[in-house]
Symmetry: D2
Amino acid sequence: MNGTSKKRVAVVGARGLVGQELCSLLLRHPTLELSHCWSTQELTGDNSNPVPGAPAIQAWNGGAGVDAVLLATPHGASAQLAAEALDQGAVVIDLSGDLRIKDLALWEATYEQTHPCPGLVDMAVYGLTELARDEIKNAQLIANPGCYPTSVLLAVKPLVQADLLQPDATLISDSKSGVSGAGASPKASTQYANVHENFYAYGVGNHRHAPEIQAHLGGPKIMFVPHLLPCFRGILSTIYVQPREGLGMKEIHAALSEQYAQETFVRVLPAGEQPSLHAVQNTNNCLLGVAAVSSGVVITSAIDNLQKGAAGQALQNMNLALGLQESEGLL
Amino acid sequence: MNGTSKKRVAVVGARGLVGQELCSLLLRHPTLELSHCWSTQELTGDNSNPVPGAPAIQAWNGGAGVDAVLLATPHGASAQLAAEALDQGAVVIDLSGDLRIKDLALWEATYEQTHPCPGLVDMAVYGLTELARDEIKNAQLIANPGCYPTSVLLAVKPLVQADLLQPDATLISDSKSGVSGAGASPKASTQYANVHENFYAYGVGNHRHAPEIQAHLGGPKIMFVPHLLPCFRGILSTIYVQPREGLGMKEIHAALSEQYAQETFVRVLPAGEQPSLHAVQNTNNCLLGVAAVSSGVVITSAIDNLQKGAAGQALQNMNLALGLQESEGLL
Amino acid sequence: MNGTSKKRVAVVGARGLVGQELCSLLLRHPTLELSHCWSTQELTGDNSNPVPGAPAIQAWNGGAGVDAVLLATPHGASAQLAAEALDQGAVVIDLSGDLRIKDLALWEATYEQTHPCPGLVDMAVYGLTELARDEIKNAQLIANPGCYPTSVLLAVKPLVQADLLQPDATLISDSKSGVSGAGASPKASTQYANVHENFYAYGVGNHRHAPEIQAHLGGPKIMFVPHLLPCFRGILSTIYVQPREGLGMKEIHAALSEQYAQETFVRVLPAGEQPSLHAVQNTNNCLLGVAAVSSGVVITSAIDNLQKGAAGQALQNMNLALGLQESEGLL
Amino acid sequence: MNGTSKKRVAVVGARGLVGQELCSLLLRHPTLELSHCWSTQELTGDNSNPVPGAPAIQAWNGGAGVDAVLLATPHGASAQLAAEALDQGAVVIDLSGDLRIKDLALWEATYEQTHPCPGLVDMAVYGLTELARDEIKNAQLIANPGCYPTSVLLAVKPLVQADLLQPDATLISDSKSGVSGAGASPKASTQYANVHENFYAYGVGNHRHAPEIQAHLGGPKIMFVPHLLPCFRGILSTIYVQPREGLGMKEIHAALSEQYAQETFVRVLPAGEQPSLHAVQNTNNCLLGVAAVSSGVVITSAIDNLQKGAAGQALQNMNLALGLQESEGLL
């Protein structure tokens, strides 16, 4: 490996939790160089990077001089940055919600604003890696999936695509996330006082990830209720499905096992076993458990929200888009 | 108040978490005296009570000399103790699972043993206080509900009784409990190492509280999946229901609000608000939230598993059975 | 007890953690009425009290109409409020640092500002209850001690007063506090992300409680280093002392045991036993452990920082100043 | 790198927390192969390794067939295993306390047993890497230091060796450890119920690491008091030292900075800054902070107890003893 041949990658928004995770992963990547960290916010005297060893923060230059740009920037701001970086020829991976929903009206209702860059939406590939690998390999612009949607869609989208579920039965995803999903900036809800030894549902009926899940699931309706766990990292979604008549836990388990048999990062546990957050934290893995409960089937899906739910999957997608081995820097 | 007129109460199994909670509550009770703590295990040199101020542990004497006996003893052992204490004329509240299920065959399948005392089962009143108050007032023997069943049944049993739900739609209770639900004795699953920053589903498809919930819910089928939270106290059940055609969140919210309008310990939050564990820990309260999610209705039900889910409800029941004010010692 | 004869008490600063603790304690107080909660900040539309059942927040009226005022307000602002309430004839307990240090120059160096009300300083009694009970009974103005100073001074001031320590040996207090010591307003240091599974020393060499401890200890020098624990409530100070020649652990233990033999809230454990935070949380107790380590003696002192370290001790002092039983509302 | 040329390493005691950490580190090591995991306990049906990818547990074969053996076994049992493996020609690193103290009488008083293998004691090099590197390079048998001693000795031994401290002033190390220091087997003290939101001193005056620290510190007396933190990983020792007359914080900071200027794993922070557990968890680093507090100097020393305090330092030592780069597999 010749160091000078490494492809150059930039992170925008390196001060956030996802941005920091991207920097940490890229510093360990064998064939990519984290060459720049850009910010669109006014730079202060202290431009040091919170991740030791990562480049200092510099002003956004439009995305010039790198092979790929990772946007860990807020929705509403990301799409415009994507447009600029595409103009510079970079591969762009947007980790915000800007480009995840094709239906503009739905996007605008969900995010309660006019879309900042509608022209990009159709071009963006929804980067749920294991289910869109071929498109991702050829993509110039990738909309990285949300954390909750990743945990839910990996578990049930193959079942919908294979038509194994009752089409008129509503799926339910009861999802729980660690507090890192709420970002780095201090707020009351993420204070230790309010998180430790606590637990509650939030955003019931109006979370932005609900339309994203529904849009990419297709087919049956899904109810999604997120909760805040008293821990830092990880999402576990408990998903209730109704198989078609004549099918049961065995067939669901077999279908998912076959779907993911060759995957590095998605694994189906033996029937009846359940994944834990401990088993996925600080990894890019998604672990799936399948079990029968009275008349239905329950799938539990565990990921690290900052890795497979954000930075890890982004890197997985970038590897593919840049022609590298998918798992580089992620094992 | 004349101290000598206080009714005398005993706790059996005072070393467990529920037993300790009972002792703590009884020490603060204005009109009951915690006169004895009995154990059926061999007594060692140290018979001190883990709760400061509570009576030292003594050998079980068959239940003589007290007005009421609270059994915080394991299933399989409790029913026999109940029989002995009834013979002594005491009011008996059994906090184990021995007397919660009327169907003997179901009980034996659930607990994987022959029932130790089948003759008592019919006599026992299932002590879900707010929904069985009149029976409890006249009861000599009360089967105190399980922690998960309390959180679930308070939320949905009134809806079933009022026939507000689609009879052939399966209810789902995705329930989460703090680790105190697993008891005081050291085991791998309750080690700090395995609990902190972790979360997972367990007992999927085979938890003993599932048949108890189904038996007392009547009517529609219910799927129940418990999870272990990285915290000590509290249960939150997220329950998905399908109202009858023409009914929705408003009607469900109104029905529960009316049901519990006069209750001291069960409160329905304004529509769309969700309870947290913080709001119920160290109280005997059950807080209910009702919200609409796409086509369905979600009810979140929060209790303290050691209080309303065990010792608190037991004391509430004992107050009633002894002719006292229901809330004495619980506010 | 005739309700109309209850003395009336007000809390200023009820939105903070200490203010909330005061409100909670006062709501349970048998012979005091929490009649008002005042704020000096601009009132917004929502003037509800974060503690259910406590009075809504009203604008500060100068302290009229109550028997006592508890100031849970910031240093720099409290002293002026104290002056106004004294003018109205109220007993005033200031929980801020404004009146804890008699030496004005030291106060101004410590708090880096001009003292807002120097005329009050001499009048204020330093309310370390067990060591200043007689003065407190007759006080109109009480400076409630800081949380760390309470934990340290209760452990060692009696030893200094009895001249049991080597006068030229420096005492060391290695103190650790839960995060509630840092207040309720969101900041980076109190985010769950930065507290959980973390621990560090802070304010080394420049914490405001160091001069307060030294001023009230008298005699020997003391080094004080505070640390932030990954928990919510409680302070544990580990204090290293050098007894005079010929004295050792036994004599230190005996002296403290005798000092506190009749106290309700301060207890000395059997020699060699150590207190834990669990043993004092949500109580007004201070537990002291004494042990020998090689050539020295170690005293560990545990309190709940929001109770004995703030609101509890304030109430204890107010009980005394109003002529009530010291422990009312605190057991 | 030719895989067949990798040196072969075995871990004994792979089921413990330290053993698991060793396995995890060795699986990522570029030039060593974790070829065997041995146990001296009776093997049951399930001989799988708790670390995915690590070799299954096999019966102890006396240490044949490997280049080095890492003993993560209990004191009292380790020394005999070391003797057997030495006979087979392996380099041996013992992570137990068996070989850390040269004075046999002191060892036997500390561990309350007859030494199992006194003939090995003199041969063992005490593996505090940065302070004994040359001996370690040539060692066949290394006694890996305890976790607390590592944190304390790295901070103060260079100061004693350079004669910068008052020889008759007692040093104090107030040390705090996460619960992983107490091992993996379930016990009451490591239950979530007893750890979360708790904190206390333990082993005051009789912890086994006190004689180890004193023996290797030489010179001045040191008082050591350990505490249990409500977290999983990490040790922070707050150490109080008295510099010789005319010396102060600056000179102490300069001496430590110079001592460790070229080190990969030990770093001295800028004067006045304090390390946190977050900064060292899951690394082999020791971070040192130096600050002035009134008349004295405080050094805070932070390590990960399972890495620099156990498995990481063992690997660092093994690298040296096998002629590899010291930091291999540890960055």
